[in-house]
């Protein structure tokens, strides 16, 4: 069974068939993706499935990686933080190092292709150092919210944009005016991955038992890094407002270590202190590969919370919707594109708001279940990787057919 055939079982034969038809004019196109790592992180995860699926669609897809000295990682990590508006301290020599590693990578890599996708800031200067004529079109794929970047870093990165034919952002709110077309392609989840695949009841129950959670009592879950922007203390406050009305209620706050965030450990300590010795609040620090544990927690939740006060796209919301759970989410970032009041959950603005909406959903089982079903269908239609791949195919067709609308022959 091919990979695409496996996804037919999830999205239907017609959807996959239509994707094949749409991609037919692109057969044989040489496509290269360049990013900064083959393992770890969201981009590597996306390329892990995208390369084989693009190949199944008839494209000649390859994946290349930029690499540099240890200092290069420090500099590009700072770029990443600066893109999201955090203050960073960089010297002129850091910017020079960035360009130098890009120059060296352009020399080292064999970049003969019809289209090269360059992911994020690390390899952004490669086009400038690649001999003209080797690459048909360059596309910069920005996975980061670039709407309010640090000015100095942005000026440095913006200098690379004129070498591109187009750019891609996850959502319109992440963009800023650029001199090149900005395609919008939201991220997606893989319904067959460990984090999202169907799970046996046995495995789910075993996981809960291992974590000390009572499978017979209702559970609220928030999965996210221990980060102030995810408002874990607000979640605990909401839970405490609810507990007198629903004594059996349990809360699990599950997250991984926030590597890029020096404040992560401090926030985790605060959360643990705040939870105190309340046995029905579980603060779970999970390893980065605890995908099946997260899957089991999300499937066990009666309602999933994502009470962020600042958020990127919010794929944990997508994961919960896919598992048929209504989501109560902070009204920010990509959560507003996924949570619709009374349809897939509720947007809230305070711990009191979260508590109020949980009370509502606990009271009305039928509405909770209906929202769960709607959320599952919504995720299927908009946020699975087949849609993600279709967006890439449409964008490639648009690049090959400049003008207005495209009629594929």
């Amino acid at each position: 069974m091919t990979l695409l055939e496996r996804y037919e079982e999830v999205v239907g034969h017609q959807e996959v068939q239509r994707l094949r038809q749409l991609a037919m004019p692109l057969a044989g196109r040489r496509v290269i993706h360049v990013n900064s790592t083959r393992t770890g992180g969201g981009v590597a995860e996306i390329l892990g499935w995208m390369i084989p699926l693009m190949k199944e669609l008839g494209l000649e897809a390859r994946w290349e990686v930029i690499s540099g000295p240890p200092d290069f990682s420090r500099v590009t990590k700072s770029f990443h933080n600066a893109m999201q508006g955090l203050p960073v301290s960089l010297k002129h020599s850091d910017f020079e190092l960035h360009r130098e590693v890009n120059r060296e990578t352009a020399r080292r890599l064999d970049l003969q292709a019809d289209v090269v996708f360059v992911h994020d800031p690390q390899p952004i200067y490669i086009p400038e150092f690649t001999p003209k004529g080797r690459v048909g079109r360059w596309v910069w794929r920005c996975h980061i919210d670039a709407s309010r970047p640090d000015r100095t870093v942005w000026k440095h990165l913006e200098g690379a944009i004129p070498h591109y034919d187009a750019t891609i952002f996850s959502m319109a709110a992440f963009t800023r005016p650029l001199s090149r077309p900005m395609f919008l392609i939201p991220p997606s989840i893989d319904p067959l991955s460990d984090k999202n695949c169907p799970m046996t009841e046995n495995e789910r129950l075993e996981t809960l038992t291992r974590l000390g959670i009572d499978p017979d009592r209702p559970l609220l879950v928030q999965v996210s890094r221990f980060d102030r922007f995810k408002d874990p203390l607000g979640v605990i406050a909401a839970y405490r407002l609810l507990k007198p009305y629903y004594p059996p209620l349990q809360l699990a706050l599950a997250g991984g270590p926030a590597e890029d965030d020096p404040e992560g450990a401090k926030v985790l300590r605060e959360v643990v202190e705040h939870a105190g010795d309340e046995k029905d609040i579980k603060v779970l620090m999970l390893p980065p590969d605890a995908h099946r544990t997260i899957n089991a927690l999300q499937r066990s939740a009666i309602i999933v919370l994502q009470k962020s006060i600042k958020e990127g796209f919010g794929l944990t919301v997508t994961e919960a919707l896919w598992k048929g759970k209504p989501v109560i989410g902070g009204a920010c970032g990509g959560i507003t594109l996924q949570v619709y009041d009374y349809h897939t959950g509720f947007l809230v603005h305070s711990p009191a708001g979260a508590a109020y909406r949980v009370r509502y959903l606990l009271r009305y089982t039928d509405k909770r279940q209906r929202m769960g079903r709607t959320g599952h269908e919504f995720a299927r239609e908009h946020f699975l990787l087949i849609r993600h791949l279709r967006d890439y195919v449409k964008m490639l067709l648009c690049l090959e057919n400049p003008g207005t609308d495209v009629m594929v022959a």
């Binding site: 017609q14 959807e15 239509r18 038809q21 749409l22 952002f169 959502m171 319109a172 709110a173 963009t175 800023r176 005016p177 650029l178 077309p181 900005m182 395609f183 919008l184 009204a331 920010c332 970032g333 507003t336 619709y340 349809h343 897939t344 709607t374 269908e377 919504f378 239609e381 279709r390 967006d391 449409k394 964008m395 067709l397 648009c398 207005t404 609308d405 495209v406 009629m407 594929v408």
Partner: protein
């Protein structure tokens, strides 16, 4: 009975592009409506239907929704919800109508309505990518049978986009049926559907209902369930 070429079923999708511009108050919305490229108005007034599959939205276009949800200007939202872009012969005419409605509203207000940070209207335009699905219908009964399993994107292409392509108030389905010399009542009933105020799921249900009503004798139509 006429003898037209078989009906060719198309599918489509949007490639969406950001402008990197947003509106955070009513004055900025007016400026955007005045000056944004035609493709932006086309997207926010017509093509946005492809993004609403669950009756999540109160109004059929992004501008009305944003005024309702984010600006809290319910009067203007109601007025914009009633602007039907398919009743305009051109985007220029639609633009003039929108400018008139928004300007009139702004004129009578003491304060300019604004939205909280994070709820801005981000301007987007789109390019339609259409392709032949390879499926053909040679008779009305085949069309009736296919409607329940059409992708919503195909429905959009043959109903909404058809008006734009043909520059006429007719969808591809009824035009083909007319050419086929099918029952005139069927053609008229399909054309009478108020498609702009329906989401695509609702629209498909209305199509199914019309075929069921107008072709009750067909055994194939009996198999069509909404």
């Amino acid at each position: 009975m006429g003898n037209p070429e078989p009906f060719a079923l198309f599918d489509c999708g949007l490639a969406r592009l950001a402008l990197g511009q947003s509106c955070s108050n009513l004055r900025e919305l007016l400026a955007a409506v005045r000056s944004a490229p035609d493709a932006v108005l086309e997207h926010h007034m017509m093509r946005c239907v492809l993004e609403d599959h669950f009756e999540m939205h109160e109004f059929p276009n992004d501008l009305a929704r944003w005024c309702w949800d984010s600006l809290g200007d319910r009067v203007l939202a109601e007025q914009l919800g009633l602007v039907d872009p398919y009743h305009h012969a051109s985007i220029a005419s639609l633009r003039a109508n929108l400018v008139d409605v928004i300007e009139e509203r702004l004129w009578g207000l003491d304060r300019v309505p604004w939205c909280r940070p994070g709820l801005e209207l981000h301007l987007v335009q789109s390019r339609l990518v259409a392709y032949d699905s390879g499926e053909r219908f040679s008779a009305p009964v085949e069309m009736a049978e296919a409607i329940p399993r059409l992708s919503l994107r195909s429905l959009f292409y043959h109903v909404h986009e058809s008006r734009r392509r043909r520059k006429a108030p007719s969808d591809d389905f009824s035009s083909w049926l007319e050419e086929y010399e099918a029952d005139a009542a069927l053609v008229a009933a399909l054309r009478a559907i108020d498609f702009y105020f329906l989401n695509l799921h609702q629209l498909r249900s209305e199509f199914i209902e019309v075929f069921r009503r107008c072709m009750p004798e067909s055994p194939l139509v009996e198999r069509v369930t909404p």
